[in-house]
């Protein structure tokens, strides 16, 4: 049975925790709004890019000189899993659900006898994967020093991936991130980066005319495809940023509520015990008086 003093200390500490979680929730809410705006602002670019690419890709289809980024290496042996997670924890199941999806993919690919390489973006994903899959991790970057991810960050990741692709280190690259649905729901998603998946955008109606390409289509594609990789990664990182804040907000909201419940329970216990002690003291006095 804890003493009254223990209970008092306990209540004080839970109250302090509640203050912290409440503050974190409010910070996350403010950051979420900014992250959402950034994700919305970036959408037109990736949509237009997808439209142009699907347009060009259909004209290149089946041609032997199609760029390798579009057609792939013709093999399917070495898979690169790019796992994008947050830099910090305390955001519910956000990091672990992305890591879990990546793990499932890795296990399935290993089961099929393929080689798996892992590229982690973000500290938390690296932490949770390195224990079991440490030997597969070929590259790890984190953005701990940057306050909000910019296109430059995505570009540096894309450059590393493209350099690995050019060196023939892998055949297929897949990006793992959490798609932002709402504050309470973020969906871990796997997106194929290389070979480029097209078909997302709708080609505009040209009314029978054909594009005049300058320089030729192949060269435009060679220029656009690497850029598309960066854009896709950027989109993934922005979605991730919004998802992380959303997940943190709801996690901290429930933590705040739980702390409140706990304070209520502890207060009731404290009051009961105080009452019991008073009663006990009274009984002692009365029975002492009666004995005289």
């Amino acid at each position: 049975m804890p003493s009254l003093k223990d209970l008092r200390n306990r209540i004080a500490s839970v109250k302090a925790t509640r203050k912290i979680t409440k503050a974190m929730q409010m910070v996350a809410a403010a950051k979420l709004r900014r992250a959402q705006e950034a994700a919305v602002a970036a959408r037109p670019y990736s949509q237009r890019m997808a439209a142009v690419l699907s347009n060009l890709a259909s004209s290149m289809e089946g041609r032997p000189d199609a760029p390798r980024l579009l057609a792939g290496t013709g093999r399917d042996d070495v898979h690169l899993l790019v796992v994008a997670t947050a830099e910090r924890g305390l955001c519910g199941g956000f990091n672990s659900s992305i890591a879990k999806l990546a793990r499932e993919h890795a296990d399935r690919l290993i089961g099929q006898g393929k080689t798996v390489k892992i590229f982690t973006v973000g500290k938390k994903g690296n932490d949770s994967l390195k224990r079991l899959y440490g030997k597969y991790i070929v590259e790890a970057v984190d953005f701990r020093s940057t306050r909000s991810v910019g296109f430059g960050n995505a570009q540096s990741v894309a450059q590393k991936i493209l350099a690995m692709f050019d060196a023939g280190d892998f055949d297929v690259a897949t990006l793992f991130f959490a798609e932002y649905k709402s504050v309470i729901s973020q969906k871990p998603t796997a997106l194929r980066l290389i070979p480029t998946s097209v078909g997302g955008g709708k080609a505009p109606d040209l009314g029978g005319a054909i594009y005049d390409a300058e320089p030729d289509e192949g060269e435009i594609l060679a220029d656009l495809l690497p850029r598309n990789v960066a854009v896709q990664i950027f989109r993934g990182l922005l979605e991730n940023a919004a998802s992380e804040q959303g997940a943190r907000m709801s996690a901290m909201d429930s933590a705040t509520r739980n702390a409140g419940d706990m304070i209520n329970k502890l207060s009731i216990k404290y009051n009961r015990q105080r009452q019991a002690q008073i009663t006990k003291e009274l009984i002692e006095i009365i029975s002492g008086a009666e004995a005289l």
Partner: protein, 131 residues
């Protein structure tokens, strides 16, 4: 024929969207003027300045780098990795861009990418001199 629908988007935001009279683009193979009713065209852009002319008022100038233009019956769309209104572009920012381009040249692994990167660098230096 009414105006030309023009959109300029960078990964970070939609910089410009609306009806314009014409747009001048720094294409890789030479400058192009796009007027309403232009035939469909796809083109890569070299680092340079996009000039947007409206029916009235002064022309708007925007610096782009790593760009791509598409003309279709719906209008003109420019996708640019970097897009900065010329008014906000000062010597320091441009020097930063030149430095980036120099790094690209240094990073290039094969002759083709190096050729492209050094071309970009030349264009940027031209622009720097003209400022």
């Amino acid at each position: 024929m009414s105006g030309l629908h023009f959109e300029l988007v960078s990964p970070v935001r939609l910089l410009f969207s609306g009806e314009v009279a014409s747009v001048q683009l720094p294409g890789t193979e030479g400058d192009m003027g796009i007027f309403p009713g232009h035939a469909p065209v796809l083109s890569t852009l070299r680092p340079g300045v996009v000039v947007i002319s409206r029916e009235q008022g002064a022309a708007e100038k925007i610096f782009v780098r790593g760009g791509f233009a598409e003309v279709n019956p719906a209008g003109l769309t420019v996708l640019a990795e970097t897009a900065i209104p010329l008014a906000e572009l000062d010597a320091a920012a441009l020097a930063g861009q030149v430095k980036d381009a120099e790094e690209d040249v240094a990073d290039a692994k094969d002759a083709e990418t190096r050729r492209r990167a050094s071309e970009n660098l030349e264009h940027l230096k031209d622009l720097q001199r003209s400022m």
